[in-house]
Structures are given as structure tokens and as C-alpha cells.
Symmetry: C2
């Protein structure tokens, strides 16, 4: 079957999925968990073969580590599926209810987006996590995983497909896309696919954003900043900085540039010492280099997401200069200020144009689980739909349901009747 | 100045605008109203010149009518500006508040999207309405109006620009784009422009969706349906049908296809009579044509937005067939069912994939003013961000503000502390 036909099937399945109630979806989640549990051995064997082949192909060690999918990881993803069951049913929630007139009621009700295309890298647990999130939110999904995990992904999607269809889900609701050609075709299918969620490298996300007319939820870069204001509490500076840079250096919410107010530039040697203890390489502006002996930052450094043990440092004359720098070079992901002044923190958080603006804490908190969303679809630097860490909400939109008794627009245009527009404060009865 | 530089200026202005409080924006709305009022005569003269030129160029009469912008219309747009003032301040609303841990608070707060590009057709009142909505929501705006209204748009934007900047708004927050070349360039400026809102013809909207990587809010078609079920109340059928088709035939929420359950096909002669009285041309499927003498509908008719006195009719065997038809040929705009059965209406509204799904009322209700939104940005058939009639909300997104006391992610990763994730139910203090 062509990818076009497969996407059409997903569209068709999505319409059935959208009308399923919470119990039906939870039963399918149970079946998914049960299927994975009973066919554990097949998964482990497929994954061993993927690992063996990838080792032969000399893929980097961190990638190999993420590829590995053994008993304990399978147990973890099964626990994840079961915990999703306990989240409140996301579909059919009334968000707005208005009486337009007696007997003419308007409701805004949450519903699934429809068909989602997700492209993820080597971790096979992502496949299970994503499918279960799509199921819970009532979306059909086309999945493309990393080629290293080809066999693991194939058996996982086969198990999920079989077990959930047996539990009553419509055929075609989950489909694996395996070739690069199919993925490229997928980007063109704006009639069948409503949203793309790429979880790969930044360059890849950017490529998709530029080459598809389908909306994209993702982040093309995570250039995060910390601004150290003159009145920052010295006790907080080093712990927050070290955490933001080194707690997990490969993450998108890691700090890449430190902006230091000139009046606390004397703090720089202590920062240098702490960073060097953690093997963080520093580069800085000319003024910084007059105080600590580090390499010179180039223009490109301010616009670089290192995702590595490296930090650029710049001295600024004012918070306004820091905000300008962040709004010019940042990627709108996460930026944090260290200050003991409420008003100043408030102004920083209003004027910095980023998904997450923090006061006196690590940039690393920018994460769906830490935010308490229960599950994370991804982090978005888009300015529409969903921004920052995105939970199950990001897979939902709404529809307007209107319940009438034969009313016409002419009745109101001709002033025979008039609108009341009273809030109803009740759930949609249908 | 190039359009690239102008867009960059708009971006810069948007950052200032985002941090303005409600009072400052309301003062600027007052200044805008005052400016338009005191320079009324200049506007009328510019508009007369536009009308004179357009008449010479033989533009169609309805277009000429929409172009006309005299005293009473100016008074109306000024009233519109002043009524916007009374809407609650949309920016800075707390949507979510969570205590992650003692002294670590997370808030989700509404904020403007940033820079919006709006392309609208001949009506000059659209320029004023759009600018005031952007101002109220704190967005910078690049505006492109119809060339027929060139002089009117120029004087209007000049007045709005001068009066609001005098009232404290940042330079560049509103800019008129005049050439077709500049508009085409604008579609490429995804670094500076966050959202495009085209209010022109469907073909044009489709062109933009396919040719810009900037997200688009709009509708590329309004193929709306009414499904007449066997148990529909006969009293409601003709009024709702006539209203949906003829109350304002040029609107996107006008019905284009009527689906009739076979068991009420006997109703067709009465429908034919009522439609012919309103000069509505009918075409239908073979089964329909065995009952009433009308022309044959072609495959293309089911996928056509007539926006004219024309209606296609199809007989179906079941509601499921009607739903399939709607989901295959519809544009996800507005579809209505006529039935006296609650459960059936509920199932129709769940399974039809459209922004607006109505029960026993006219499709013409699909409109921001009728919905009680106070103002309408446009109608969206997109599946993300905003769907259906879009009010001021559609120009807003949110940011996450986190207020801490020096916390690090490591504290929680190493179980030194743990997350409470308690709802705070309070407004963000900063």
C-alpha cells in the first residue's frame, strides 16, 4: 500500500477513534500493556539483533545505549501505559458554554486533532510512549523511528496494532513508516495529516518546518540563557548555573549563554572555578576576558546550541541589554534571571519572548514531567497552538457544538429575537 | 526600507507591546478613535478618490459597495474601537498555577503571539478593526489591503500609526504593506512573522498555506452540509434550510449540500418549492432526480463551495452514509443535523469532523459575533491553535513563568526533594 493510501486509512480510523469513549480507550491501553508483556521475549530478541547490527555499523556508544530495550525498560513502558489510564479523559471536556438565546446553546468541547505524524530517533520506548499518548487522546498516528531500531520498532508496532485492534480500535489507527522516501512523501500529505511532531535533531526539525505545509510541533533549537543581575543572591548563583549547564548536558533546556551584569562581574572567577571543576569549557566577550582567562567568543557562539560542556559568557551594562541579547539570539525556549528583586524579575519575565521564563531556578525545570503534566509530547518553540513543554493537551483541539430548536440567523438579523450570550457554566449534554 | 527590515522593526515593537499593561493599550485605543474622528474628512476624501478610480476600472458593484467608507461607517468603526476597550484585558491572564514544591511555583500566563501578517480584501473598515484587535491583544501587525482601497488604507494606517505612537505605542507596531512583491516576500519571513491571517478568497488562502512556512489561520473553503434525518421536525426543515442557504449567500457558513435520509425523500418537492421561491438553483443525485425534476449533480458538485444561489442534494440510506459524505467532501467548517433524537444528534456531532457541528439550527450561526466573542479575527478550518470562529483568543498564546528560590533539577533527580504538583488556584503575582 502506498503511503498516501496508508495516510488516508489513518484519517478514516481517526474519525472512529475520535468518537470512542474513555472506557473503550482505557481497555485498549490495557490490551496494549498485556500484549507487550506477553510477547516480551520477541521484543528482546528483535532488539538484540538491532543492537548487534548497530554495533557492527559502529554507531556511537550513547546511541547504542538508547537503542537497548531489555526487560526493565519494557516493564517501565508498560507502567507508563497503565499510568496514562488513570489520567482524566481528555476528550469531550467542555471548555466554554454559552446560552445564545433560550433554547440555543453553544458548547466548546475538546476533541482529538486527527492524524499525527511523529518522527523520533533511536529510543524504542518513544514508540510505545507516543502510541499510548495518541490512543489516550484519540488520535491516529503515523510513526517513523530510527533505522537502527528497525526490528524493535517493527515488532512493537505489530504487537500494539494487533492487541489494540482486538480490543476494538479501528484498523489503521497506528502505522509504522519505514523508508526515508515514505517520510518525505508524508510531509506532503496535508490533506490527511494534521500535525507533525519531529523529535529528532534540530537540523532535521528545521528541515521539516521549511519543507512541509503541515503544521509542526517541535523546537528547532534550545539556546537558553541565564541572566545574573547585580543583586542576585550569591548563594543561588553557582548551584543554579552548574545545574543548568551540567545536570544533563545533552538536553535542549541546558543553558548555553550566561549574561552577567557588569556590577557583579567580580563573581566571574568563582563561576570559572566551578565550571572548570565540571570540565565545562568557557568562552567570553572581551570584557569577560579581562577578568578571567578564557577563549574569545565569536559572534556565532551567541547563536549556538552547544548541547555540550561549553558555555559562552557576556558582560552587559543593564538588564535591558540582557533582554535584547536574549530576544536577538535566543530560540524562545527557556531563559532564567537571578535577582532578589520581584519587580525586576517580573519585568524580565514579561519582556523576554520565550516559552519558559524563570526566576531564581535552573533552566532544567523546563520539562513536562517536572511541570506535572504526567506525560510529555515534546517541547515547542512555536508561537501558536502549544508552547513550551507540551502534555496531552497538545494533541487536542476543540469543536463547537450548538444545540438548537430550529432557530435561523434571520430571526436575530431582523430583530425578531435577540442574543443573550449568557454563560451557562455547564457541561455539554451531548 | 525593505520588507525584511520592516518586519524586523515590527518584531522589535512587538516585544515592547507585549509588556504594556491594559491601561496603556486602552489609552492608545482612545487615541486611535480620536485620531480617526478628527481627521474624518481626509479619510472620506481619500476614499472618494479610491471609489472614483475603481469605478473607472469597472470593478464589480458588490466590491464597490464594500469599498465605500463614508461618515456612518467611520462612526461605526470608532464605536467598535471603543467597545474593544471594555473587553477584559486578554494579556496576563493566569491559565494554570501549580506548586511544584514549596517555594517553586509554575504559572501559565496568556501573552500575545508577537507579529501577525494580515491580508484582507477591499473593505477599509477591516483595516481599523484588525489594527484595534491587534493592539488590544498586544500584537504588532503587518497589513496588506486590497489595491482598490489603496488611498483609504494609506490614510487610515497613517492616522492609526501617528495617534497611537503619540499615545506611547512603539514605532513600527503597525505597518502597511502595499506591493504584491512585498506580500510575497512577507510569506518567507518566518523569523519575524509568527502568524498569517488571510481574509481573502479561498484560492488565495490555499496559495498562502502551500507557499509559506509561517502558520496560517484561515479557511480555504466553506463546504457546509445539512443532514435531514427521517425523524426531523417538519416545522423546522424549511426555515433552517432557507436561512442556511439564502440569509447571506456570499458567506462561508452558507450550506452547499443537503443530505436527505431516504425515508423523508417525500419532503423534497416542498424543499424544491421553497428554494425556487428564493431563486436557488438545485442539482441532485439520481435518486433525488426521480422525485424532483432538477439538473444532475456531478462529482465536482459535492466538493464545490458555490457561495451562490445553488444547492446540491443527495439522498442517503443512513446517517452513517451522511457522515461519511460530510467527512469526505466537507471542508471541516460547519455541518448541521435536523433530527428530534438527542442520541442521534450527539453521535452526529461526535463523528462529523468539523469546527462547528450543529443540531436543529442554521449553519449561518457559525460566526464570532453570534457566538458572543465580541470581535472576530476570522474563521479557521485548521486543526491546531484555533478552530471555527476565532475571537481575540486566536491572537494569544501563553508563556510559562516559574518563580523559584534557587532550586536545581538535581535536587529532585537525586531525591533530595520531591515534587508536590499541587494546584495553586491563584493568579501569577508577577
Amino acid at each position: 500500500m502506498t503511503i498516501q493510501d496508508r495516510a488516508k486509512n489513518a484519517r478514516k480510523a481517526s474519525l472512529t477513534l475520535a468518537a470512542l469513549n474513555g472506557d473503550s480507550k482505557n481497555r485498549a491501553l490495557d490490551a496494549m500493556a498485556e500484549g507487550l508483556n506477553s510477547r516480551k521475549q520477541e521484543i528482546i530478541e528483535a532488539n538484540r539483533e538491532d543492537c548487534r547490527r548497530s554495533k557492527e555499523e559502529d554507531i556511537p556508544a550513547p546511541l547504542l545505549k538508547r537503542l537497548k530495550f531489555e526487560e526493565n525498560k519494557i516493564t517501565q513502558v508498560i507502567e507508563g501505559i497503565l499510568s496514562l489510564k488513570n489520567l482524566p479523559e481528555p476528550v469531550g471536556q467542555t471548555q466554554l458554554s454559552t446560552e445564545l438565546d433560550t433554547g440555543l446553546e453553544l458548547y466548546r468541547v475538546s476533541c482529538p486533532i486527527g492524524v499525527v505524524g511523529i518522527i523520533f530517533e533511536s529510543r524504542p520506548d518513544a514508540l510505545v510512549q507516543i502510541s499510548s499518548l495518541c490512543l489516550k487522546s484519540g488520535n491516529a498516528v503515523l510513526l517513523k523511528g530510527g533505522s537502527e531500531a528497525a526490528l524493535t520498532n517493527r515488532i512493537l508496532s505489530e504487537i500494539i496494532n494487533e492487541s489494540t485492534i482486538k480490543a476494538g480500535l479501528p484498523e489503521g489507527w497506528i502505522q509504522l513508516v519505514e523508508t526515508r522516501e515514505d517520510v518525505n512523501e508524508m510531509f506532503k500529505l496535508s490533506e490527511s495529516i494534521d500535525l507533525l511532531i519531529p523529535r529528532g535533531s534540530n537540523a532535521f526539525v528545521k528541515y521539516i518546518m521549511e519543507n512541509s505545509s503541515i503544521p509542526v510541533l517541535g523546537h528547532s533549537a534550545g539556546i537558553c540563557h541565564i541572566y545574573l543581575h547585580e543583586d542576585a543572591d550569591p548563594e543561588k548563583v553557582i548551584p543554579v548555573l552548574i545545574d543548568s549547564k551540567t545536570q544533563y548536558v545533552a538536553a535542549c533546556n541546558t543553558v548555553e549563554t550566561l549574561l552577567v551584569h557588569r556590577d557583579v562581574a567580580s563573581f566571574l572567577p568563582e563561576i570559572q572555578k566551578a565550571m572548570e571543576e565540571k570540565a565545562v569549557e568557557l568562552c567570553g566577550c572581551d570584557r569577560t576576558r579581562k577578568i578571567i582567562d578564557i577563549s574569545a567568543a565569536q559572534e556565532i557562539d551567541w547563536a549556538t546550541e552547544y548541547v555540550d560542556y561549553k558555555l559562552s559568557i557576556k558582560i552587559v551594562d543593564s538588564m535591558d541589554e540582557a533582554i535584547d541579547h536574549i530576544n536577538s539570539y535566543g530560540s524562545g525556549h527557556t531563559d532564567s534571571i537571578l535577582t532578589e528583586d520581584n519587580d525586576r524579575a517580573g519585568r524580565f519575565m514579561s519582556q523576554v519572548d520565550a516559552a519558559c521564563v524563570f526566576w531564581n531556578c535552573s533552566t532544567r525545570f523546563s520539562d513536562g514531567f517536572r511541570f506535572g503534566f504526567g506525560a510529555e509530547i515534546g517541547i515547542s518553540t512555536s508561537k501558536i497552538h502549544a508552547r513550551g513543554p507540551v502534555g496531552l493537551d497538545g494533541l487536542l483541539i476543540y469543536k463547537y457544538k450548538m444545540l438548537g430548536q430550529g432557530q435561523t440567523a434571520a430571526m436575530y438579523a431582523e430583530k425578531e429575537r435577540s442574543f443573550s450570550h449568557k454563560p451557562l457554566n455547564k457541561d455539554c449534554p451531548l
